[in-house]
């Protein structure tokens, strides 16, 4: 309960969960939730660039720590799982960008340093490509790609079925295929990148 003290009334007004609520949500995660989060953390860990390795456990631990200490505010309207996913996505992106920028820095003598550590757009794009490799699993699977695209646009399951002219059963089959393929891919051995 003592963690409550870190939360200001302003934050409560914006729908941000208190530290105690965040802690309760984390403590309430099930083994299934942890397995999913670890799989996703493994996926982000594939974004290692030139010797910089992100350990999946570290990424997840950091996301939870930041949520508990308020550095990453958890809005109650978002599920805690989705929130942790987005924190890991953001952290992995920053780590990969910094790593890529370092790899591109010229070897400098003396104290001279580059003016900015922010990577140029091409580095940012290359980094994002490495983080986005899940989509490549569905190349050639037009049904799945259409469903993924429409879900991304915010359509509900019934709207997607209507748009694509597919039955509920067909839709469920596609969703199950997506889950199976993503889970299998993320559980594979050493990262490929």
């Amino acid at each position: 309960m003592k963690l409550d003290r870190q939360v200001t009334p302003d934050k409560e007004d914006r729908g941000v969960a208190s530290a105690a609520e965040a802690r309760a949500a984390i403590e309430g995660l099930t083994d299934t939730d942890y397995a999913k989060l670890m799989l996703i953390a493994r996926g982000f860990a594939r974004a290692r660039i030139r010797g910089s390795v992100i350990e999946p456990e570290d990424l997840l631990q950091e996301a939870i720590t930041k949520t508990l200490d308020g550095r990453r505010a958890w809005r109650r309207t978002v599920s805690i799982l989705k929130h942790l996913d987005r924190v890991m996505e953001s952290d992995a992106g920053h780590i990969a960008e910094r790593s890529a920028a370092r790899a591109l820095e010229p070897v400098l003598d003396g104290a001279e340093k580059p003016a900015s550590t922010s990577p140029d757009p091409s580095v940012r794009a290359a980094t994002q490509d490495k983080l986005d490799d899940l989509l490549s699993l569905f190349v050639g699977d037009d049904n799945a790609l259409e469903v993924i695209h429409l879900k991304g646009e915010g359509f509900s399951a019934s709207e997607i079925q209507q748009q694509l002219g597919i039955s509920n059963t067909h839709y469920d089959t596609v969703i199950k295929r997506i889950r199976r393929r993503v889970a299998k891919h993320l559980s594979e051995g050493e990262p490929r990148l």
């Binding site: 397995a35 939870i64 720590t65 695209h149 997506i178 559980s187």
Partner: protein, 179 residues
């Protein structure tokens, strides 16, 4: 046609969200035969969460001690009728850091500042070191620090009650550092 960068990011989020909605049996099935099965993944995730929860607990404990530290410095300063700037000059520490120690429990105080303040106020050796979180403090020290911080009030001159409170807390710290 290849989706734009923005669309790819969005679609990858959809893929991860779809995984997050999977049932236990779907996940068990998908991970059958994988190098690390469902139980192994869950154990690793749970371990990471336990470590994060323990870190958060430690951090909250230290902040409790810092609240006691800030209140103690402020009260000692008021007892001696010295301003932050005067104290900074006499104890040879930075005034900005002193202000932050009094106000911000999240601040990690500089060990030299803590040593100088301990010497200046003639406090029991290592008493402020303990409140700075640099050495491990018992749970009763943390509880006493929280009580002390909550009881001290921000008025110009120490009341008789506050003086008693201050003396009692310093005595408590002496007993604890003498152990």
């Amino acid at each position: 046609m290849r989706p734009s960068k923005h669309d790819r990011t969005k679609m990858n989020r959809v893929l991860r969200d779809t995984l997050l909605e999977a049932s236990e049996s779907e996940l068990q099935e998908a991970l059958r035969g994988a190098p690390e099965d469902f139980d192994a993944q869950a154990a690793r995730g749970r371990g990471a969460a336990h470590r994060a929860l323990a870190t958060a607990e430690d951090s909250a404990d230290v902040q409790d001690l810092h609240r006691g530290l800030g209140s103690l410095i402020k009260m000692l300063r008021r007892r001696d009728c010295v301003s932050v700037d005067q104290l900074a000059k006499q104890a040879r520490v930075a005034a900005d850091e002193l202000r932050r120690i009094e106000l911000n429990a999240a601040l990690e105080p500089n060990p030299r500042t803590i040593y100088q303040l301990e010497q200046y106020f003639k406090l029991p050796p290592r008493s402020l070191v303990m409140l700075s979180g640099a050495v491990r403090a018992d749970s009763d020290v943390r509880a006493e620090a929280v009580r002390f911080a909550a009881s001290s009030e921000n008025i110009a001159e120490l009341s008789q009650e506050e003086r008693k409170l201050l003396n009692r807390f310093v005595k408590f710290l002496r007993e604890h550092t003498d152990r």
